[in-house]
Symmetry: D3
Subunit: 239 residues, 6 copies
């Protein structure tokens, strides 16, 4: 039995709330149970240096956590004077995941930065962030479409969402919360598109190595879970 009483293939309650920021061109407050991430997409009319005069744009992400998003207060990264290796790893992952479904040529020479800030953490913050960031990005593109800048559907090639799976007390389970995550023997994050293509897979044995059979089981759980997340995205985006 999982600590949360969920079925092995059961997501936590998912909520995607659009338009939560007065200022951002697109925004989404995503909740996977008690994990809450505020995603805000900002449009800028400039691109990184290496893209100047290429006609192509850029989509990137930044990630942060409020100091008391977690059970123990963590040191504020701005006060520490740098972002941790973990933070950088996660924001690079979010950026790659979004770019996997974006036609940068169709975006034109502009940059969209999606800030993903964890308001409350209970495991799975990076997967919630990717799932919510897609909604914020989509709304930013819709905002641009309203102003005649792009066609959203020309820029977005597909949906993208993410979920974690793991082997907990010998059993493959979907969408680990913090309690399960801390105890899992194996922890894997999957990023997939609406059509089921794999964008990113990151699996780590925390204790014993895992087998191909176990990896297959996790992939199966993730595939089903991400399909549900994409349905949530479609429902909330009215698409």
């Amino acid at each position: 039995m999982r600590p949360s009483k969920r079925q092995n293939d059961e997501l936590r309650p998912v909520s995607l709330e659009r338009g939560v920021s007065r200022h951002a061109e697109g925004s989404c407050l995503v909740k996977f149970g008690d994990t809450h991430v505020l995603c805000a997409a900002s449009l800028e009319e400039r691109v990184p240096g290496w893209l100047k005069n290429t006609g192509k744009g850029w989509v990137t992400a930044e990630y942060g956590m409020l100091p008391r998003a977690t059970g123990e207060r963590m040191r504020r990264e701005a006060a520490a004077g740098k972002q941790s290796g973990r933070t950088q790893e996660i924001q690079r992952l979010i950026g790659r995941s979004l770019r996997a479904v974006v036609n940068l040529q169709a975006l034109g020479e502009r940059q969209i930065t999606v800030d993903c800030d964890v308001i409350q953490a209970d495991g799975g913050t990076r997967t919630a962030a990717i799932t919510g960031a897609f909604v914020a990005l989509s709304d930013c593109l819709a905002w641009m479409e309203t102003r005649g800048m792009v066609k959203r559907d020309a820029v977005l090639k597909d949906h993208v969402a993410a979920i974690s799976c793991g082997i907990h007390q010998g059993t493959p389970v979907l969408d680990l919360d913090y309690l399960e995550d801390s105890a899992a023997e194996t922890d894997a994050n999957f990023v997939m598109t609406g059509r089921g293509g794999i964008v990113e897979i990151q699996g780590t044995a925390e204790g014993e190595p895992f087998s191909r059979a176990e990896l297959d089981a996790l992939l199966g759980l993730a595939d089903a879970g991400i399909r549900q997340l994409v349905e949530h995205q479609k429902a909330v985006l009215g698409a």
Copy 2:
């Protein structure tokens, strides 16, 4: 007429929502109109080095802004590698304001850090932060009282709240929003206790210097405004 149609002595709608964080010992989401600040109080069983073995505790604060809390996205301080002078000024002010109503001896050798993170900004973030941080601090002390660690009322000597005032188009007005703040000739922040004592006053002439008469007018507005804020605090704290 003010851009927001408010009376000169009228606060924006104020909301103080307690218990918004699953993890923090005390928390409050404070809203002054469209300015939203999440305040989370964290208790730690340690004190800064200079207080060791004095029997006294410490209350401090940290302040941050989500990058897209503002109209234009600002650079993330963690990515920039340091906190701005403005950020440091504000978090020092919040800490001093809270300590003004705390009996550090009664707290004992413990530290409470109140994180004030601006989720959305529309002027007056520091005054909202102080007003909300008091509620988070009070709830943290109540949490401690439940565990027999302190008596809240022995630690808290009074209420404390803050508001900005300014001279806008020649007229003294209360609780500036961003539009007014940008255009104000004079901008002042007041921190006062529930009994009407002044804890901190910071007035700055943005354009022409101001006179003692103008300062008196601002003080009068602030005094009345802070009384209302303290009433809000009392109402929500059930005290």
Copy 3:
């Protein structure tokens, strides 16, 4: 009785020595008793990015303390790798105070930086710095006038000076030295113009909150003190 035997409304001996730097366009060694600050104004033919092509100039300040300016040696900020929050707060205040009496349009697209370095500290370094920085700035503008770049009197709209006041053992007193500052219940800094307008007021209750009556008393002391400082400035500048 004050530790220094001064009257409650008595300044420490004030000295403003011009032309102390061989290199700077304007300079002043200001002494408020044992507090000594070297102020050096540097002219540069460039402005911050946001002022380019606006026809307007900029006046800014930087503040520092020699490590053994104080009773206990402090860590050198250059070695620590950053300026403290206190340092940033003070240099921002000096810059704002100077700009309050400068016509940036008349200055033209140039920047003047006034470095205020505390050689020896005995309380009131920021108010001495503002008072001396005005003299350095005035001499820098005179240097420019000699070269036909500006008219000093078109750039400088007024004099500006600053003083601290506080409530010490229940009594409002003027120009706190370090001993009084450490023991004061309330500590306030005032920046005012030659015509008596208030540029900045910063009052902090270190212990008990203060009342409006007390604030009024401090304002009265400051007003008289700053009038004397401006007379000193006029005397030394021969204006």
Copy 4:
């Protein structure tokens, strides 16, 4: 045909040279073709704070690249003042991979740091680093065994090695060099043990998402490649 004329399942020439550092307790210069990484294991009689008095030790890794290890000179990280996100990601991966085969209890309260410095880069530096770091670690433990500190075989639970695979021009291939890596549609790194358990898998779609069938093909290549690498390790370690 691959640019290097290799078969799709063919490793580059692999070389593992032990004892290349006069000072380190264990060292290995690993070459995967033109990718050369110097791995040096250092023993310290201390552990990170969170392990004190637990009886358990720690194994960690640091990664760096000489500035001209690459085709274009890269900025020296020490001069830039920080390690890049990529560097941190890689060194965290190396450390996790080594710990997957180490019994930290049997190591005792000591720390082994394996420095992996890329002398020359041609793709696959992280996988070469893991493969060589294992040899350096093994020799460090042998050095300790000679001194009666541990039994190497009690500390090392298995071998560990790593390889990259990718989909290049539609074909799954093993051990990408720089040319292939730059052009690959999908790029994946696998870390596996001598017994074939998966320690870590990181797959990224650079262009189009990949399918489960493609992931299976890459896994098959990696499995065979890592078996060969482990044979190399055994041969050179004489085990």
Copy 5:
């Protein structure tokens, strides 16, 4: 003819003013012509970690320049967030030079830090700093002797002073000012003791290499110059 009309072996006017800091245990304002350096010695009852429980003390130095000590304003190192390579080189040199004449055992487990801050620069700041720092250090030890902590003459083994020499327009000259320093073909700094021993020699060819004969000529000038500086030290210290 030298720009300053001095003879080739003529020092600039030298001044060593003791007791210029109200707070420091020893202090000296040293002037070599227009080069002015404030040296302040601070005693601390602690030593660096590697000296703990050895019974030995430590003497170290820090060096800084006010931003407008020079003809062009330089960026403040505290604002830049780090000390330049030049600054570090100089402060290491000052520390080594002082330690060459100190018996660290006789000092006992204490640290003396001599801060050398350049108030105005006109070439030769490091040599002036060493010469003045010795006076500040001597006075700090005298202060300690008064309190029965050490015998100054047991700690100080000799005097130490420093001077620069260079080859200017083909001629060896003593004590370069900024104009000469900028144009010199060769620039050398010498640190010597009162008994004529060499503590440090640093010679650099700025243009053409120099010969042993030229080095000998510079050594001869330095030797005579430093003898005069030591006489100045003795005169001012009354020894």
Copy 6:
């Protein structure tokens, strides 16, 4: 007798291996006994800002040490977030030494950076680095000559090499290894050209000051040692 059994005027075995880097325009692995430094010259078609549009180029150097190049592991400078004072001192010395034999006008507006990374240290890393960096620089210029960019012999005015000497147990000796360096009373580094001109001399008394006679003895040793190093350079460069 020296610990290494060498004669007082005997160099350690010297080796200069060219072309060790696949990517660099010029490279050299230099060995002075157990001190091994990898020198890699990188050409860039840009110059520092102050040389733009002057027609002149620049030659500079960077220096680093692998963390376990030494007997005890040192903290990685990239992880510490800054280069030590020692590192900066050395890389500035290497750059000055190379520029002493380069005609920057003949180089044209280009920059050559020579990275000197210590793979293994046993004393004398800076002198080995200078000696090897000259070879890497020469090969970089030969590479450029092949492409018609410069004439090597028009850019290189002479050879340059460096060696350390010291007074060890009262005797002047050449080319100190780590054991001797740690115990030497005096330690000096000499940089000289092929024609015997002195480029740089840095002598430091670690214990007792040294005399002019001792300096002369060290100079004599260095002169003979550098002549041998230049012969090594000529032999390996085929010049």
